[in-house]
Amino acid sequence: MIANLSTYESVKTDSVKVWFKAGPASKFPKNGGACIKYKDKQIAVFNFTRQATWYACQNLCPHKMEMVLSRGMIGEENMQPKVACPLHKNTFSLKTGENLNGTLDAIATYPIKVEDGFVFVGFSE
């Protein structure tokens, strides 16, 4: 199935209907990302250990529509957490999803929480 940008829309915490159990926190690399599947969605999950925070966003890079963001490097720019796409180093805010070094479309971001050692990602459907 070829990815479609419209599959991904940011979800705010107060509109979460499903907290999807994505896997044990220990499976996600420290200060790095991994990909999970929820229905027909591919979601990149980042374990930002240095900030003791987790982030989730679409795995699809809006630049060339490839499922690669989870393999990107994470970091921070002016306090804004970000991920750099491994294909062309486009960077996106992990908080707002906006493209920080260009004018690409913003990526969708999702609420995330860790409870009892498991990672949960919030979806509105």
Binding site: P29, N31, F48, M67, M73
Partner: protein, 838 residues
């Protein structure tokens, strides 16, 4: 205490407040600002970004708290309805009365809606405020719910109209731009540049209709089309009117200020209206019989008004207003400056047009050929700033003026001088009116050392940002005059150069990235400093990329090169390019089994493409079982040592180049360095291995080997330089060992040996002294470092397939056994390739 009332909280009204607040004397005034929109002033220039992010906050020029902090009372959602000049009071929509000593009208403009029959129909919009955009978005959703092929037209092919065209395209509607004039952006472009721009825009899906006068809007209640007369019409579901602006001058009319014939409140060069206590600035002000719809003149007016009220009476408006503009329109550079086009008796033009690349450049020079009058650029406006400066400062033209737009045909030099040649009065940043003198002064006298610092101090680059490259040049050159070089700090997290970090890691024995960040860095790192630190750790401890995998560049993290569709390529080492039939068959079998595309690389080995992430350990397991090891094609490390067949077979061969190449490739394999490096060994001076285009090369000659270093093919080819002549093999290796180690220790990140050697003070002579004569007394250390690399090499793919925790990294999903279903291949000459990018 006197009171200043500002009517209007748009960009210019806000700029007035900002300039006022910056003045010490402003404390002696009571300041009240009225805005009729529900929110504080926002950046209207970048309004179309709202479609992308729907984030009104990000467009905000200053948060509401800014006004409070600066003792400015901001009243939003309140319209000023009347001015009573006799009593010096105003009344507002909610019937409140305020008295003023100075009144500043910054009411701006409203979109001009031409009196077309049917313009009141549902689905017809103007493009001006965030509320307009929200209404358009809602309506577009309604259209899309009804049909999949909805269309929207934009009336007006000016700057804003074209932006609106992109905006409706982003909403999922088919855009049609309808312009009355026979060309696009009629004020800025001539017809040829309009043609070029039209082609480019049509290619990205924006339909253009020129020379169309709209007679009537069709539809019963809601718009269904536009009628151009003579049986010519266009079916549309929505219409956005962007046909220019009209000043919001009602207040001036009702209190009898002097007005222009076609609207606008008349002002003098002090921005005073016919009532000396009332000022008008921005798009409502008629200055020199003109309304200026650009930000830069509006800002200048704000500055003048502030100064006049603060009694700095000598600050007045420039007599001539520069209407030059440069912008990125839907990804296409468009710029015009000075007089963009004119009749032939007023000047001569030089035109370059290349429709295959969507390029058009035109400059106009005076009849005597001595001065630049103006010009137009479409498709590439990189040289706009310098041309604009030449025009503004009346700089002399070079002998061959055409070089200004087609580039110099001589020694690769630019036809332009340096930005430092401009006079100090040259305005570099026209949005904020910052001169070259102010930028240089900010560096030389005030000690600012980066573009960021200078931007903060002078506000240069903070408007449209078009002057950034020039400001960067000025900062760099000014630092040079101080004897300082531009600080080579690698990113915001480390205030060090790579060499400094290398020494820190080594001396302090720093073990990992987090420790390095804690001890000498700040923040949480980024994609620039992480791989750089990884390279340093690898150079000092010879650790593989597997240990700190999340600070590696993506390719190093997965020990494979990511390709266009997110799959990977697999490249085993084939030292010296020597491969047995048995190995070839093994590779063929494995490639076939995993359906990989295979190709011979430029470095005499075989690349296998199209492996999915989860297949990598499986493929490598089989390759390792067949005796292969990683080729590190993904790393900043040794790639290959290319060889000719040498004296074993070749009748001209002077020595055994293949054996030497294999030996040296195995010696340096796995070493991480600031950038990738390659070698070559040729058996005679015919140089079939092209060793002099490599980072290091050996050529067999009568009596020994010649050693070359610092060569490069690629984007900036450079022949390697001779380091030593006619030496034996052991000596040749020793010299290159030291050369490589010295480079690894001292080179800036991502700098090939050729660029490093080029910049090395003293060049090859200095290098010879270091590695042959030991002028720095470090060769022992360099030799020991290299020996350590050689002794501690391990194949990182072997490590990966044998270690379960590392193998686990190679799954597409953490929570599913499924593989990525987004990857599509198409066939190509009996093999496969990734599906083209859309």
């Amino acid at each position: 205490m006197k009171t200043i009332i500002v009517v209007g909280n748009g960009m210019v009204g806000y700029k007035f407040c900002e300039k006022l607040a910056a003045r010490e004397e402003s404390k002696n005034f009571k300041i009240i600002v009225f805005g009729e929109e529900p929110r504080a002033a926002y950046d209207r220039v970048h309004l179309s970004e709202f479609f992308g992010n729907r984030d009104a906050k990000s467009l905000e020029l200053a948060p509401a708290s800014w006004y409070t902090e600066n003792n400015i009372e901001l009243v939003v959602n309140e319209r000023v309805t009347d001015i009573h000049r006799k009593t010096k009071t105003i009344t507002t929509g909610s019937d409140k009365e305020y008295s003023y000593d100075y009144l500043v009208l910054a009411t701006g403009s409203s979109p001009f809606v031409p009196p077309i029959n049917g313009v009141e129909k549902e689905g017809v919009f103007v493009y001006r405020t965030i509320e307009d955009l929200e209404a358009m978005l809602d309506y577009a959703e309604k259209i899309k719910a009804k049909k999949s092929d909805g269309r929207a037209a934009i009336l007006g092919g000016g700057l804003l109209g074209l932006e609106a065209g992109k905006a409706v395209m982003d909403m999922g509607l088919e855009p049609h731009v309808v312009e009355f004039a026979p060309k696009l952006m009629p004020r800025q472009l001539d017809s040829r540049s309009s043609n070029v721009l039209q082609l480019t825009l049509e290619n990205i899906g924006i339909n253009i209709h020129l020379g169309k006068a709209t007679n009537r809007i069709l539809g019963n209640g809601a718009i269904t089309g536009m009628d151009f007369g003579e049986d010519d019409s266009l079916e549309v579901d929505m219409l956005v009117i962007s046909a220019g602006i009209r000043p919001r001058d009602e207040l001036g009319k009702t209190c009898n200020l002097a007005m222009g014939v076609r609207g606008g409140i008349v002002v003098n060069d002090r921005m005073q209206t016919s009532d000396p206590n009332i000022f008008a600035i921005g798009e409502v002000a008629l200055y020199n019989q003109m309304i200026y719809g650009l930000v830069a003149p509006g800002y200048e007016m704000a500055e003048v008004a502030v100064n006049q009220i603060m009694e700095s009476l000598e600050v007045v408006m420039s007599a001539e207003i520069d209407m030059s503009t440069k912008l990125k329109l839907i990804g296409v550079d468009v710029a015009s400056f000075g007089v963009p086009y004119m009749p032939a008796d007023k000047g001569l033009s030089i035109i370059y047009e290349n429709k295959t690349k969507g390029l058009y450049k035109r400059i106009n020079v005076s009849l005597d050929g001595k001065t630049l009058l103006g010009g137009i650029m479409v498709g590439d406006a990189e040289d706009y700033s310098i041309l604009h400066q030449m025009y503004l400062n009346n700089l002399p033209l070079p002998d061959n003026a055409e070089e200004l737009i087609v580039g110099s045909r001589g020694e690769g030099g630019s036809a332009f001088g340096s930005a430092m040649d401009l006079p100090d009065t040259a305005v570099i940043c026209s949005c904020e009116a910052v001169t070259k003198g102010a930028v240089c002064c900010s560096v030389i006298d005030d000690g600012n050392e980066t573009v960021k610092e200078v931007a903060k101090a002078t506000k240069a680059t903070t408007g449209c940002g078009g002057c950034k490259p020039m400001v960067a040049d000025l900062v760099k050159e000014s630092l040079k005059t101080l004897g300082k070089t531009v600080k080579e700090s690698i990113c915001e997290h480390f205030d060090h150069s790579r060499q400094e970090l290398y020494d820190i890691v080594k001396l302090k024995g720093v073990q990992d990235y987090d420790q390095l960040l804690d001890e000498v860095g700040k923040g949480d790192g980024c994609e620039v400093c992480k791989p750089l630190a990884a390279s340093i750790f690898a150079s000092i401890y010879n650790e593989t990329a597997n240990r700190q995998e999340t600070i590696q560049d993506s390719n190093d993290r997965y020990l494979a090169n990511i390709q266009r569709n997110g799959t990977y390529s697999v490249v085993p080492r084939v030292a010296g390019g020597e491969i047995s039939p048995k190995q070839l068959m093994a590779m063929g079998r494995i490639a076939k089994k995993y359906d990989l595309y295979t190709k011979i690389t430029g470095g005499q080995r075989i690349d296998m493409f199209g492996a999915k992430l989860h297949e990598l350990p499986l493929i490598w397991e089989e390759l390792i079982a067949e005796g292969f090891e990683t080729g590190q094609a993904y790393g900043k490390s040794l790639r290959t040592v290319k060889s000719c067949v040498g004296s074993t077979w070749c009748r001209y061969g002077m020595d055994e180049s293949v054996s030497f190449a294999i030996e040296i490739e195995n010696r340096y394999k796995g070493i991480r360095s600031p950038h990738k490096f390659k070698g070559g060994v040729s058996g005679c001076i015919r140089e079939c291995a092209e060793a002099r285009s490599k980072d290091f090369g050996f050529i067999a000659v009568e009596g020994g080997w010649n050693v070359y270093v610092g060569g490069n093919g690629g984007a900036t080819p450079r022949h390697a330089e001779l380091l030593a002549e006619k030496v034996d093999k052991e000596t040749a290796i020793k010299y290159v060992d030291r050369f490589m180690m010295f480079y690894i220790k001292t080179a800036p990140p991502l700098t090939r040996t050729s660029a490093w050697l080029e910049k090395l003070e003293g060049g090859i002579t200095y290098l010879k002294n270091v590695v042959i004569n030991d002028s720095l007394g470090i060769v022992e250390e360099l030799d020991a470092g290299m020996q350590n690399f050689v002794n501690t090499y391990k194949c990182e793919w072997k490590e990966a397939v044998e270690t379960p925790e590392i193998r686990e990294r190679y799954t597409h999903f953490i929570n599913s056994e499924e593989t990525d279903d987004n990857i599509e291949f198409v066939s190509l000459r009996e093999q496969k390739m990734p599906k083209e990018w859309a």
